[in-house]
Symmetry: C2
Subunit: 262 residues, 2 copies
């Protein structure tokens, strides 16, 4: 964990790390260098070759903290940045006419948010921090300008967008054809995998989101989410204590949705 190197000493309440250098001669503190980031293999630079990652550094992505509950961008906001999660968890959601929200996804370290804005220059969803978090802001136009002269790099963006398409694809399957138990199992296993990829335990973790948010994401009510957790516990698949989850029987969980999705 090479993190806490830079940010500790600095005032962290900057809105966006506007272009750094200004007065000082030393590199500005709140600028990120991808090449030195511990997330580089999960995040934007993933798959880049040669000096491309170093070239990313020159864009000097702004970095900032986001407090729990704070909104990163809202539906309709002008699209300027892609955001990379450095730490913490976010949810993206849409507000429905009847006041309810539809959660579209949860994002954790190394994942990119805001790609839906490219289509119309305007964000199609809102995203909110579920806990205190830290992000990098990637100015989209600068990024594409750079990618213009570099085919490898633009490939990376395309791949990331496509990945988002694939992700939503599988969510559609989930929402379109699974029952409550299958949905929750799929959700937990997905979470487990992503946490594992980030060096955390795959079998024991703390949920950052409420039952209502899980329910919205999975297309069911919070009561059904709660009941399904209880059912899993009784089937000795999980141990659940509020938001603390311990997966006891991974295979058992897996069977739930392996039976559906090949």
């Amino acid at each position: 964990m090479s993190t806490a190197t830079l940010e500790a000493s600095r005032p962290s309440t900057r809105i966006f790390a506007r272009h750094a250098g200004s007065a000082s001669t030393i590199p500005a503190p709140l600028v990120t260098h991808c090449s030195k980031c511990h997330l580089r293999d999960l995040c934007l630079p993933c798959g880049m070759t040669g000096g491309d990652v170093e070239r990313l550094d020159s864009l000097m992505f702004g970095r900032r903290k986001v407090a729990a509950g704070q909104t990163l961008y809202r539906e309709g906001d002008r699209f300027q940045f892609i955001y990379a999660v450095r730490s913490g968890t976010f949810k993206s959601s849409l507000m429905l006419a009847d006041g309810r929200e539809q959660v579209g996804g949860f994002y954790m370290a190394g994942e990119l948010m805001g790609l839906d804005g490219v289509a119309h220059g305007t964000h199609a969803s809102s995203t909110i921090a579920l806990e205190d978090a830290e992000i990098c802001s990637i100015p989209y136009t600068h990024f594409t300008e750079m990618a213009a002269s570099n085919s490898g790099m633009q490939h990376v963006v395309s791949r990331l967008m496509s990945r988002e398409i694939v992700r939503e694809h599988s969510l559609m399957v989930l929402l379109g054809s699974m029952n409550a138990e299958e949905r929750l199992a799929a959700f937990l296993l997905n979470l487990s995998q992503r946490l594992k990829a980030r060096g955390y335990s795959a079998s024991e973790f703390h949920l950052r989101m409420t039952r209502a948010e899980i329910g919205s994401y999975l297309g069911m009510t919070l009561e059904t989410v709660s009941r399904t957790f209880s059912a899993f516990q009784q089937q000795r698949l999980l141990e659940v204590d509020k938001r603390h989850i311990r997966i006891i029987d991974l295979d058992g969980l897996n069977r739930f949705f392996t039976s559906r999705v090949q």
Copy 2:
């Protein structure tokens, strides 16, 4: 494999670009020129400026017919092409372990298919023609090579991918929070709009897909689809005769899901 004069220098294009003109010296007949295509404002070239569309011409997209029921690509196939619909209708779908299929979308003239393959170099879904159709095959690598030297053009790809993300976003809302009537209303209105944009009647059209396919797409059974059609007919919102649909009360239909989605 030796024909296709114009593509000689780019062997990979050939697989799909019919070996039409064989030995002749005149341009092969089944090569498409975007600049002269009647779909240019709906399709890939949409939003391109200056000579970009002409530059697309030089890629000489292969064009071919696809018979009803024929598969364009399958889950797991190597990703090489993006496909643009010239005429006809396609569905994309996933096969579930229990043998059922999950339909992920329907595509009509000017729409692009296969973008999900960019992520892992492999298609994440299958797509099948619902009626006799015609497509252009766009060799992805050539296309990105060209886009490499042209920032305007690569913007176009990104926008198209992002649009797909947004599309799936709204499908998630649909699947996650709407009831049967709202889903079918949303489906019909979406279809109506897209047909209108293509110069067809917005109020009267012929469905190319079965009740089962609609149901799979909307996350409900074919029986419920059928019943909901009947209900709409009784409410004098539609006239339904098998696959022939006439929308009588557009506002009435609209009210169904305006009440949900802002």
